[in-house]
């Protein structure tokens, strides 16, 4: 029999409703499994056992009282440690926030609490979400549960590893340039970045405001749709939150994709992509064809400029977003600061890690006088072209199929030496954030070493239901 902790949220929901298991039993089983697994995987920065057990008891009371419970009630969830959780340590995996306990909660987390989900811990990540391997965490190195010699991907590596290692039934991550999708792909789970503005960013500790988006990491597509339904919606506290009625994501999961037009852009299948990954994408395309979808070969030539555009815009915004960490109001303050200058300089130099400093320097550079037009403004213009590129293709297709990452999980340290090599690994995901589109990564096969491969489905703006529909069809009938 399948272990409780390895089940999906919808399977567990049925068990809770049918009283085959109580929320408390489930949470205890989850915490026990974390206890066993954590030494090896290190998904979490903080495990919140006490509050989890308390929440589970509340859910059991509701069940006992005959109340109807929400689909996520009693389900253990891991929250990425850059999502503010009132009263619970929220570090962004940085020394800078090693002791920061927010006095308020992120909107997405509030919504999960409203659904009675049970948070079991705060997941590890790259410091301030800057990285693609979770090696940039100040606290620990999370291992890929599929092969512990490999990185779990990043920056939401802790969230993806927790779900893959059954240390949580699902997780919330954040995605600025692929930070949900790439670790989901590396760990063999489902991860989705919703349309920009669909999920409130209020309480998400900003990396790059115009690119950041919270999204689900789950064990299957149905759970992904369920979690997205729970966390999305207009938030008056986020000016960029969209005013749209929530689409019926679960209703879109028909298992069919007949007549759907699936774009296959040639630029995403270049020689820079591992052969095994390319094979997986092509075989997914074949699967779609066999299910009655139409494969449309298309071109997104602006991909060539996506990474540069992404790194300039995201670093510029980050340099400003991370300026507030100055040792005055919260978090780390360096010892022995005699004057203001040394307070700022020492605190920021000792509090931030290497990669974060690198991006702050780059961002400061592109915004500084004399370089703004050549770099930042140019990147904003290229951003327009990238958006137009996608808009043109979406005139003829419903969704686009690509690899999530050009490669599978790499070994620890393999790309740490050269920042540009690390940046290149984000080639398939960053343009989606630049254009504000929804995209989902789902496992589709493995490479020669048995490491999971992820395929990415990209939708038009607010086409979140479309890609869930396509993903669900592939998950059901795509083998």
């Amino acid at each position: 029999m399948k272990a409780l902790v390895s089940m999906t949220a919808h399977e567990l929901h049925d068990k809770l409703v049918n009283r085959e298991v109580s929320a408390l039993e489930l949470t205890r089983a989850q915490l026990a499994h974390i206890e066993e697994t954590e030494a090896e995987i290190e998904s979490y920065i903080t495990v919140t056992s006490a509050s989890a057990l308390k929440k589970a008891e509340e859910v059991d009371k509701k069940i006992a009282a005959g109340e109807e419970i929400s689909p996520l009630a009693g389900i253990p969830v891991a929250i990425k440690d850059n999502i503010s959780t009132k009263g619970v340590l929220t570090t962004c995996a940085s020394k800078m926030l090693y002791n920061y306990v927010p006095p308020y909660s992120a909107d997405a987390y509030e919504r999960l609490l409203g659904q009675d989900a049970v948070m079991v811990g705060k997941a590890n990540m790259d410091e301030f979400a800057m990285g693609s391997s979770t090696e940039n965490s100040y606290f620990k190195k999370t291992k890929n549960p599929r092969n512990t010699a490999c990185v779990p991907g990043g920056s939401s590596g802790g969230s993806a590893a927790a779900v893959a290692a059954d240390e949580a039934v699902f997780a919330l991550g954040s995605d600025t340039g692929g930070s949900i999708r790439q670790p989901a792909s590396f760990c063999g789970v489902v991860g989705m970045k919703p349309t920009y503005g669909l999920v409130s960013r209020y309480g998400l500790i900003a990396f790059a405001s115009s690119l950041d988006q919270i999204g689900p990491i789950t064990k299957d597509v149905r759970d992904c749709a369920t979690v997205l339904s729970a966390i999305c919606g207009k938030d008056e506290k986020d000016s960029t939150s969209l005013h749209v009625s929530t689409p019926d994501f679960l209703g879109a999961l028909t298992g069919e994709c007949k007549g759907m037009r699936v774009g296959l852009p040639k630029e995403y299948l270049s020689d820079a992509v591992d052969p095994a990954v390319r094979e997986a994408v092509l075989s997914a395309a074949k699967a779609y064809e066999s299910m009655g979808a139409e494969i449309v070969e298309c071109s997104l030539p602006m991909l060539d400029y996506a990474l540069e555009t992404y790194y300039l815009i995201s670093s510029a915004e980050a340099s400003s977003n991370l300026a507030r960490y100055d040792g005055v109001r919260y978090g780390f303050r360096a010892e022995g600061c005699e004057d203001l200058d040394s307070l700022f300089l020492k605190t920021r130099s000792e509090g931030f890690g290497k990669e974060v400093k690198r991006r702050i320097m780059l961002g400061t550079f592109v915004l500084s006088s004399g370089y703004y037009d050549a770099y930042y403004k140019k990147a904003q213009k290229t951003r327009t072209l990238i958006c137009q590129d996608f808009a043109r293709v979406f005139e003829t297709v419903d969704c686009i199929l690509t690899p999530t990452s050009p490669c599978t999980a790499w070994k620890f340290g393999a790309k740490s030496a050269d920042p540009v090599q690390m940046y290149l690994a984000d080639i398939c995901t960053v343009s989606i954030n630049i254009a504000g589109l929804p995209a989902l990564s789902m496992p589709y096969g493995t490479d020669g070493e048995g490491l999971p491969i992820g395929v990415q489905l990209i939708g038009p703006r607010l086409g979140d239901a479309k890609i869930l529909k396509a993903a669900y069809a592939l998950e059901k009938g795509g083998r």
Partner: protein, 94 residues
């Protein structure tokens, strides 16, 4: 473009980062390669309007209605140093 050590020092000052000589040298090299990689954009000729906002919204406003603030203890709970219901910093030069 080439980036000099002097520029690195200027950027570090603007960013309030104190860098060791070793860090400065490393960053000079790294920034150099990142910028070489970013220089590709300058070869792209375009008259496109810059995208300044990620969403299409406009006129997103809040009503001018008072809502409760946090308590001073919540405001100060994370302060590295606090006194007299205020954040404490080294004396600012007046």
């Amino acid at each position: 473009m080439a980036i000099t050590m002097k520029e690195i020092e200027h950027l570090a000052k603007l960013s309030r980062l104190a860098l060791s000589n070793e860090e400065k040298e490393r960053l000079t090299g790294e920034m150099q390669s990142i910028l070489a990689f970013a220089d590709k954009l300058s070869s792209l000729e375009t008259e496109a309007d810059p995208t300044m906002f990620a969403a299409d919204g406009k006129n997103v406003f809040r009503k001018d209605e008072v809502k409760p603030s946090l308590s001073p203890s919540e405001i100060l709970q994370n302060a590295p140093q606090a006194d007299m219901e205020c954040f404490v910093v080294p004396k600012t030069v007046e």
